[in-house]
Amino acid sequence: MISAGIDAGSRAIKVALYDSERGMIASGVHDQGVEQATLALRLFERTLVEGGVRRDDVRQVVATGYGRSLISIADTTVTEITCHAAGVRHGVPDAATVIDIGGQDSKVVWIGSNGKVRDFEMNDRCAAGTGRFLEMVASRLGVRLEDLGEMAGRSLQAAVISSMCAVFAETEIVGLLASGVRPEDIVAGVQASIARRIGGMVGRGVAAPVVFTGGVAMVPGMEAALAEVLGCEVRIAPQPQMTGALGAAILAAGRASE
């Protein structure tokens, strides 16, 4: 049986097709835009073609992400918190803590021994410690997002970024650059500051294994910065950007078989 998950995130839309026997059979990603319902529909159709699946064969569609309620082709919606937990459990069945850092959200989800969400924390109004923050840094330093990890690796001494606010941190970075601090040290400092922010959300409640999901997990070096703050190993989920969509598709399969 085939089901689909659509994760309408703040920066990208993700679609996953899931076969209850074969696992994830196709996936697609597209940048988020103004016409997100149309973008999601097109991406869904493209992913169907890629997976060689007919629309009628998809038994159930679950939408998640901040734009979930706008996805008219979805049969139902589930929050990204529950979807990330389901997606992570698929790849790492004993996962106990999920750290998801997306475009504008960062969240920590604790999974109980029954495999269900036990508790969660989520950032509120501010974008500190999210992908948007890293994008701002890359653009300010004139480098590509994917090069940040390699840069941080060359840092000899991470700069101290004390501001948690993306706007004030930008001012701080401008000041650091002006005083001659090397860009690689700034990048390492920014990664450490995001990790500290997440560390604050985790509090004393870190339970291993810790699995890292969301688009920011694809930025090299972030998992090392997190591991340093949390004091334990941090595993990157397979295809971390797809975790929410995959979780949605798995939950859709569960609903279809009810």
Binding site: V78, I81, T82, D105, R118, D119, F120
Partner: protein, 378 residues
């Protein structure tokens, strides 16, 4: 019921009665009623008045304080404009200092609230504050607050609290006839209006009967389903106009069956002893027991949360914190422990202000909480 309030206050003024603004549940309405006054709540719940307040107040201050003060600056709260006296109190620092600014243009009397509530001195000090308020009202309004009038006011307020309690208890059944949002709409801003008491009685008769299983097609629109997660809402008060989080909760699969806050059950759980030899002392005693987060330690609030969670058979507890409300925010740590460790229930803390910019994010967190609740049931 809010609709009566304005007309009632206007008529009362015409009849020569005094309108007295109150900003806190520690202020004993009995004394105001016994002085022939009309006690009206002035707490601001509108985002619209905040920019005016921020010209004088810091931005990083609780929105309730800013909104209240914004009304004062803009002269846009008709009740404040009618008020012959505003009774303030030293609860949190933000309010206390705001009252000084308000006092430049309005007559303000400040009650000094002791905060080590379990000390014997606290009760004595608070009693003297209540005595001073009695003197102030008598002098200012040229009246005498007799023992007879005081006892009459106590009976009236006990009756009002009793009716509001009964109405709140409608939410105890499996599928109540009304939602938490509808319940809060039934609450009046002025105490002691006979028409309001009648409305409470009618509402109890109507929704209370429905709750007992009688099919009534005239039921309120929001009649809840059994599938809803039953929520105990705790934390800061939701002044009229600031019910956004309550609405988000009920639009996303929850039903707020009990509100342990100052706009809900907190001030009406205890009555004033009608048989006490000294009615003034009895009033002081009841009000000092209010489990506000400014009290230290604030054991009564934890007892109240434990009790309400059981009585209303809640599935989870949501705590609302207004941005920069330090006492509720810090106390949230203790509430979380009680809820998660003692009651074994999921707990969610929502910190926000009056601007709707984070509504989608709050909805996600609330929905995820209810998914967790359903996951536990399954």
């Amino acid at each position: 019921m809010l609709q009566h309030c304005h007309a009632y206050a206007v008529q009362a003024k015409r009849d020569g009665r005094k309108v007295v603004g109150i900003l806190c549940e520690f202020t004993p309405r009995e004394l105001i009623l016994a002085a022939g006054g009309v006690p009206v709540c002035l707490c601001g719940g509108s985002a619209k008045t905040i920019p005016a307040a921020e010209q004088e107040l810091p931005a990083n201050l609780c929105p309730l304080i800013k909104s209240t003060y914004g009304y004062c600056v803009q002269k846009s709260n008709p009740f404040l404009e009618m008020a012959d006296l505003v009774i303030a109190e030293t609860t949190c620092d933000g309010k206390k200092k705001m009252y000084e600014l308000m006092g430049r243009t309005r007559p303000v009397h400040v009650l000094e609230l002791p905060q080590k509530v379990e000390d014997a001195d606290a009760a004595e000090h608070w009693y003297r504050e209540i005595q001073k308020l009695k003197g102030e009202l008598e002098r200012r309004f040229g009246v005498e607050i007799t023992e007879c009038k005081l006892r009459e006011a106590i009976r009236l307020m006990n009756r009002e609290r009793g009716l509001r309690r009964q109405l709140a208890e409608v939410m105890k059944c499996d599928s109540p006839a009304i939602t938490g949002r509808e319940l809060i709409t039934l609450k009046s801003s002025i105490s002691g209006i006979p028409a309001d008491l009648e409305q409470y009685e009618k509402a109890i008769a109507r929704y209370g009967t429905a709750a007992n299983g009688v099919d009534d097609t005239r039921l309120a629109s929001g009649a809840a389903k059994r599938s809803h997660a039953r929520v105990l809402l705790t934390g800061v008060p939701m002044a009229h106009g600031a019910e956004r989080v309550l609405e988000i909760i009920e639009q996303n699969g929850g039903l707020v069956v009990a509100m342990e806050n100052c706009t809900g059950l907190k001030p009406i759980l205890e009555d004033v002893d009608e048989t006490a030899a000294d009615p003034l002392r009895a009033i002081a005693e009841k009000y000092l027991h209010l489990p506000c987060s400014v009290m230290t330690p604030n054991r009564r609030r934890m007892e109240s949360i434990r009790g309400l969670a059981g009585e209303y058979r809640v599935d989870c507890v949501i705590e609302l914190i207004w941005q920069a409300c330090l006492t509720y925010d810090v106390e949230a740590r203790r509430v979380r422990e009680v809820v998660e460790q003692e009651l074994g229930l999921p707990y969610l803390r929502i910190e926000t202000d009056y601007s709707p910019s984070d509504s989608a994010r709050i909805a996600t967190r609330v929905e995820a909480l209810f998914e967790t609740v359903r996951g536990r049931r399954a």
